[in-house]
Amino acid sequence: MNFKDKKLKLFLNYIEELTEQYEELLNQKKELLAELEKKAMYDPLTGLFNRQALIEFLIKEIERVKREKGEKLFVIFLDLDNFKQVNDLYGHKKGDEVLKEVAQLLKTHFRKYDIVARFGGDEFMVVVRNRTKGEVEDILKKLQERIEEIFKNFEISVSYGIAVAPDDGTDIDKLITLADRRMYQMKEKHKAKNLDK
């Protein structure tokens, strides 16, 4: 092999390395994009889905409910009672710990294929399908009792409101607003009860 042939072989080997490196880079790019996509769907503090992921999920589920007669979809809005005073009295670090624990409780009370999301601050949303309203209410009551028990020292409870598609309509904004309004009704009742005490 003369020097000229060696040079040619070297350049061919270089091109082979170049191709392999670019393929590796492309794979890395794909992995990175998948990771970014994943990150864009989750709330960094609690690890639950974020608001955007929940809305995207709701859009698909509402379409499914519209197509399949008899299907019901429960849109649940939850808000912690007295959470503000945890932040005020014990600091945001403690507040974050409470939010993480509540997130875990939500995950364990609902099924893997139900969508549990942090909507913002101390607000959470859950989208449940293939359940009866009675079953959903039972789960929520159990969850409420568990939260009150765990966070007794902080006097934290949870208020919630449920909207049902298609009974309450199939417009996402309206369903969320309705669940939010019903959650407030419960919150008002909790406040009144606390004042009576």
Partner: protein
């Protein structure tokens, strides 16, 4: 400024120096001598003194040097300067016995010398000093950047023969002495000058991150043992002594955040565990593996010389420090590059093939491999 550059390949040092003396201009102010390591280095100062008498000069070992448009191998080249203005002066700073132990002191001394010479042309000629000189330049460059100073410094590491992977020691001849483990900075005042750096490597290529290194040796690239890469590049090429030169065709470029090449590095040797380079690299630096062709080197050299001519205009003289790898890669066009510089810049040219070039690129002073530093110089005349 009148500059005369002459060479001789007479194998007897005394006759070679005498030939130069005969062609040198009368009453020159300063001389640079490139002297082949094939001559007995210990006889150089006495021979110069015998032939020229007491003159102001700096000499250095170099396997080859440029005398205008000719490459003089295994000979001696003299570059004689006769200045027109009494304001034009040459000041030198010689540092010998450079070692890792006195690195900090040497950098400080260099900084002090150069900080007063921001408006002067500073030319450094150095031995490799077992890798100490490239480290000095990299450290000095960082220091300049930290201080925001723009001292012009160009030059090269003298190329001496390499036997196996061992590089023969180079010497400087100064003040009647032979000095080793050394470098010299020659500072010319009252000169206008501009310099450019030409490379000609392909700008695309795979990029690796240096994850483990020991100055000149890369142990890991992208977290993998580095030795795999040269082996892969030389796959199915039968082992031979010239394979180390073959890898000069695939240099590494140290790239910045914008993936632009800041400095080139050539592979010196490799084992399964590491790749040894001719210049230092740091952990975390990103290297682009590139390729180089003789035609591209020539194209870039032409573009560089044209740019220099356009921005500088008429030159009295040119310095050229060109990597020894260019000599190998240019093959039969070895002399074409300096011919091209001579033709385009239309001035006498002196320089030599190097084991590392010194120049600023993108505002950073660094040690380079595989480049050609070309400087156009003109004496300031009084009206």
């Amino acid at each position: 400024m009148d500059t005369v550059i002459v060479g001789s390949q007479n194998p007897i040092l005394r006759f070679a120096v005498r030939e130069l003396k005969e062609k040198a201009p009368k009453g020159f102010d300063f001389a640079l001598f490139s002297i082949s390591p094939s001559y007995p280095h210990q006889d150089v100062p006495a021979t110069i003194k015998k032939e020229f008498g007491s003159i102001n000069y700096v000499g250095f070992s170099s396997s080859s040097a440029f005398a205008n448009i000719k490459v003089i191998n295994d000979g001696i080249v003299g570059c004689f300067f006769k200045f027109s203005s009494p304001k034009t002066k040459v000041c030198t700073y010689v540092r010998e016995n450079v070692s890792r132990e006195n690195r900090r002191d040497v950098i400080k001394e260099m900084e002090e010398f150069l900080s007063k010479r921001e408006d002067k042309l500073n030319v450094v000629i150095a031995d490799f000093i077992d890798g100490e000189f490239p480290i000095l330049i990299e450290e000095l460059g960082k220091e300049f950047q930290r201080r925001g100073t723009g001292v012009p410094l160009i030059g090269g590491i003298i190329a001496t023969p390499i036997v196996g992977n061992e590089r023969q020691k180079g010497y400087l001849f100064y003040n009647g002495n032979v000095v080793e483990d050394c470098f010299i900075v020659i500072s010319f005042s009252n000169l206008d000058f501009q310099f450019q750096i030409s490379s000609g490597v392909f700008k695309k290529g795979p990029i690796y991150t240096v994850t483990k290194t020991d100055t000149f040796k890369i142990y890991e690239l992208n977290g993998k043992p580095a030795g795999y890469l040269p082996r892969k590049l030389l796959k199915d090429i039968e082992p031979s002594n010239d394979n180390q030169f073959l890898l000069w065709y695939t240099p590494f470029g140290i790239v910045n955040e914008g993936n632009e090449i800041e400095a080139l590095r050539l592979i010196r040797s490799f084992t399964d565990d590491y790749i040894e380079l001719w210049g230092p690299v740091k952990e975390g630096e990103r290297l682009k593996l590139s390729i180089v062709l003789s035609t591209e080197l020539m194209k870039d050299a032409e573009k560089t010389a044209k740019n220099l001519k356009e921005s500088f205009g008429m030159a009295d003289f040119c310095f050229n420090f060109s990597c020894i790898a260019r000599e190998k890669i240019l093959e039969q066009f070895e002399e074409k590059e300096i011919e091209l510089y001579g033709r385009l810049l239309n001035a006498p040219l002196f320089g030599f093939f190097t084991h590392g070039e010194v120049a600023k690129k993108n505002g950073k002073l660094r040690i380079h491999n595989l480049t050609s530093v070309i400087a156009a110089v003109r004496e300031r005349y009084e009206l």
